[in-house]
């Protein structure tokens, strides 16, 4: 890659894909509620990378422009909000059930 072909959007997309997939697998396999939360963060970050890549003027002559960055910022902010809520849920769950294992959260009545 080095010196042969310039870094392109595809490269960024590949990294984004890896982040997305690891995040998704993380969400599926982790039993710890916070582990699942980390998976979500990875997924969001993968998506963010795509937005920024499409918006970058260094990677493509015809870029998405500033919109990519703006959307990425929204994603970051929403991820923060989501983390706060998820953490609150996790802690609440932990308080009520004395465990953090999501597999134990199989009752709806709480």
């Amino acid at each position: 890659m080095i010196g042969i072909s310039p870094v392109s959007v595809s490269h960024y997309l590949l990294v984004g894909a890896v982040l997305f997939v690891t995040g998704a697998v993380c969400m599926a396999t982790k039993r710890n509620a916070l582990g699942v939360l980390m998976g979500v963060e990875l997924v969001l970050n993968g998506a963010n990378l795509n937005f920024v890549a499409f918006g970058s003027k260094y990677l493509r002559a015809e870029s998405l422009g500033l919109d990519g960055q703006l959307i990425a910022l929204f994603v970051i902010v929403l991820a923060a909000a989501e983390a706060a809520v998820a953490l609150a849920i996790a802690l609440n769950f932990y308080n009520n059930h004395a465990t953090i294992d999501v597999d134990q959260a199989n009752e709806l009545k709480g």
């Binding site: 080095i2 310039p6 870094v7 697998v25 710890n32 990875l42 890549a53 990677l59 970051i76």
Partner: protein, 205 residues
């Protein structure tokens, strides 16, 4: 001179991309929740590096500040609050692993194919050297964009600066997100609020 032809962008991209992916995979395969959090920090930090490389300085700094400095501290705080020895390592069942790897592998394959499919995406900038450093100076434009004014969409060559066609400002989403954040904060504070139990003497007996 070989050195002159050296593509620093590619080198740093490879470096940060490997860090990002490597630590993301480490998050996946680690069983210790604290280690997972640590790897996540590194992964997200390295992806901030990728943002910087892509010319999104503001987003990169934002990623470091809000994501790494804020959200992850919150997350680690949660980890520490709930980190009793029996929760630090929770093994994933092997059956789940197999399923997850199969599904994840196919998803990755799909995404990778899609990413490499489009010719326009695969070829880099025809002449990146022409793109000035000023392209990364997007702070003001982002700020204006949030308030609904798209200075980057002004046509510089026309006197009077009409907007070029495309998406316009983000004022409404910005306000919605602000309200959303407020609601979330209140909600999170409500959910994790102090529980007051009846004192042991009366109720428990």
């Amino acid at each position: 001179m070989l050195l002159a032809a050296f593509d620093w962008h590619a080198l740093f991209f490879t470096f940060f991309a490997l860090l990002t992916c490597g630590f993301a995979v480490a998050v996946l395969f680690s069983n210790n929740i604290v280690h997972m959090a640590f790897y996540l920090i590194l992964s997200l930090g390295a992806s901030a590096g990728l943002f910087f490389l892509a010319g999104a300085e503001f987003v990169g700094a934002m990623q470091l500040m809000i994501y790494v400095g804020g959200t992850l501290v919150l997350l680690i705080f949660g980890v520490m609050l709930t980190a009793q020895s029996r929760f630090i390592s929770m093994e994933t069942r092997s059956g789940e692993w197999v399923m997850a790897i199969i599904v994840g592998g196919s998803l990755l394959f799909l995404l990778a194919t899609a990413a490499l499919r489009v010719e326009d995406w695969r070829s880099g900038h025809p002449n990146p050297a022409k793109v000035g450093l000023a392209e990364s100076k997007t702070t003001t434009q982002i700020g204006m964009g949030f308030t609904g004014v798209r200075v980057d969409k002004l046509d510089p060559d026309v006197v009077g600066s009409p907007l070029v066609p495309g998406m316009s400002g983000y004022l409404l989403p910005f306000v919605i997100v602000s309200v959303h954040l407020l609601v979330v904060l209140v909600g999170a504070a409500y959910m994790a609020r102090t529980k007051r139990r009846a004192t042991s003497t009366g109720a428990a007996a």
